[in-house]
Symmetry: C2
Subunit: 416 residues, 2 copies
């Protein structure tokens, strides 16, 4: 039997415990949705005030030089690089994950058009976060050159699906619903052995699990900064390209920020020689600047420590649910094997939607994803082991008292 006292003891021994103090967390809330929107670093408000009052309000247009707005996407990229196993000068923070996928996918397709033009399949997972599939459909539809999206039903089917017709594979490093974590290095080997290129969506892994893009020989990566990185709502996304591909990596969203010499006002687009060629238009400086607040906290630890606590907490969550909520029709969706587990835990339940609403009413914030999946994000930077204990006690109460069986919890809202 796991006890509350054991959880308290683990908190006392937690080497990351002090980082929680750097976040502003609302009273009475157990926030298990940091995989969807990260909590607010305490520093964010002061940072925003400085950007707005001083940089915008006082320095005005001069901020492009004086406050280095122009280099913010690469400066943040440099801060972020160690979190994903990249080097300085290789990452930009810019635009959205969706538009960044469009850029790297167009780039990968272009490379394959030259290398192996017969390959016309773009492979992705049926269970990908849908925007990835939509963007693939968008590019394929625009090109009108016979590119087709093929879907893999589950990770075990991937190897067979990467045929010699596959040009590009788009995969979520951690699945947004199940929490399944790919072995990036092994999958890249497989993909490359078949002559395809690998694009990794890091939305649910960046800041949650160790990512080693270079060590794993990835080709392209994109991902959110507003989830585990705590960059703020909708904060601009990251983008990385293997430096070995950069010279061939032409991308079509060729706005002036990607130009080699943007202030020459030339009529000809000449891409920057580096990762700035994946920039497009003028960036939302306030939201972009706040990304630094989250990244600054990551600099005080490393992904090895975060991973250790994450696995301890997801283990605890699974074990406690099995201990406290046995016989309650909960079906664990997330892999038990550490090697294949991200940092959120999902359970299926026929009343998953209503259960999540009932938990929210109790101040336990998880979320729901079709079909029937309840997600609980485990964020080691600001969660305590006792929070896991408390969350499971609330879940137990909701289930055993059938609190979910009320009309107010059954009614579906637009966003869950």
């Amino acid at each position: 039997m796991i006890t509350l006292e054991q959880c308290q003891a683990r908190d006392r021994a937690d080497e990351l415990a002090s980082l929680r103090q750097q976040f502003d967390l609302p009273d009475g809330t157990l926030y298990l949705d940091g995989n969807s929107l990260g909590a607010m670093p305490k520093d964010a408000l002061a940072r925003a005030q400085d950007i707005i009052r001083r940089e915008w309000g006082v320095d005005l247009i001069n901020s492009w030089n004086k406050n280095d707005w122009w280099t913010l996407p690469t400066r943040l990229g440099d801060l972020l690089a160690p979190v994903v196993g990249a080097d300085e000068g290789e990452v930009v923070v810019t635009d959205t994950t969706s538009s960044n996928l469009f850029k790297v996918l167009a780039s990968a397709v272009r490379i394959q058009q030259r290398r192996q033009p017969h390959k016309k399949v773009i492979l992705a997972e049926r269970d990908a976060f849908p925007t990835d599939l939509y963007v693939i459909q968008g590019l394929a539809g625009l090109l009108d050159q016979g590119y087709v999206l093929q879907l893999v039903d589950q990770p075990e089917d991937l190897a067979a699906a990467v045929t010699d017709q596959v040009a590009v594979v788009v995969l979520s490093h951690v699945n947004y619903r199940t929490g399944y974590l790919y072995d990036m290095r092994a999958v890249n080997e497989l993909i490359h052995a078949r002559g395809a290129l690998a694009i990794w969506d890091l939305c649910h892994s960046i800041g949650a699990v160790p990512v080693d893009l270079k060590g794993a020989a990835a080709d392209f990566a994109i991902g959110c900064t507003y989830k585990y990185l705590n960059g703020g709502p909708g904060s601009p996304a990251m983008l990385w390209v293997d430096p070995g591909l950069l010279a061939q990596a032409w991308q079509p969203l060729s706005g002036w920020w990607g130009h080699a010499r943007p202030f020459d006002m030339s009529t000809e687009y000449t891409p920057d020689a580096g990762i700035r060629s994946f920039l497009c238009g003028t960036q939302p400086i306030v939201s972009l600047g706040l990304v630094a607040c989250g990244l600054d906290i990551f600099r005080q630890t490393d992904m090895r420590h975060i991973r250790r606590k994450s696995l301890a907490m997801t283990d605890l969550f699974i074990e406690l649910v099995e201990q406290e909520c046995a016989g309650q029709d909960l079906d664990l969706v997330t892999p038990r094997d550490h090697a294949y587990r991200g940092s959120h835990v999902s359970f299926r339940h026929p009343e998953g939607y209503a259960i999540v609403q009932a938990l929210i009413a109790r101040g336990v914030i998880g979320d729901y994803r079709e079909p029937e999946v309840m997600r609980f994000g485990i964020t080691p930077l600001y969660l305590r082991f006792v929070d896991i204990w408390d969350a499971v006690q609330h879940l137990k109460a909701v289930l055993t008292r059938r609190e979910w069986d009320q009309e107010k919890f059954q009614t579906r809202g637009l966003v869950t």
Copy 2:
């Protein structure tokens, strides 16, 4: 002779004078660069605090529903619509001008591929803000279907350039360097008579001159919110599509925000039936939310009043420069004819770069654009007639004392 006293008298009679109080302007600065980055509405700081501390920090993920983050692009679009002669439900505020141009251009090209597939020319101006040309090059390069960018050298050449080979015309309503203002209605008539579609870049006209997209029968429009609209540095851009074209207006940056039912998590992209189909990925909520601060000020007046003051001020600026700086080698680039003048005034001078630097050292913030062009943005919401007087006195001093002829003013920085 125009006198300082006359300028003071005009300020006393100015019906927009009180709006200046709603902006935070740094002491000792004459800000004539609101055409590049608008000044800070006083309300911005409190708004940002509320978004960060309450919406992000407290309401967290629930803000997507509770604080309507999901509908922010269309709510802001509705606020913005009257400024551009559009109706509710027709405008979104999202992404960047560059990526929005990519979307509407791809959409326009797609329409023409079906209507008149032989048309392969995309026409734009040599003097367009370069990002427009770069994005056209990016899309044409991606499509690889023989689309070519053709450049018009000056507005007078436009009529002859719109041949029957032209599929789409991309024009700046107000030219970013010269301040030249197109007669949008007449140009649309010309473009439509030749079977082409018109995309208007409103970056330097939105909030600066009256824009009547529907009255002028435009097809597509995109533009910045961070210039005359005072939305904050790099705030997301606007996008409008003629409702009559919307049903055919497929766009390829098909991220999940553009889906008809995004939370169904369907694997198939089904675009929203309305203008939301031009959304792509998750938006930077803090920067996006601040756009409302600028738009709220526009709701206290209208573009007719703003235009009247703008023309009075640009007239004054031109007349005062001619009166005070005669014989100083200044060449007016901006049209004298009100019908063709936007809301900034540009002069050419061989030492334009250094003169602008010397003015900045005096607290007069204008900017410089290659080649040799000094730009002075006239923003009726927060400039006074005496500011124009003072700015010209500084210009006179810089020129007559040859203050520009110092090494510190001659040395070029990255961003001007």
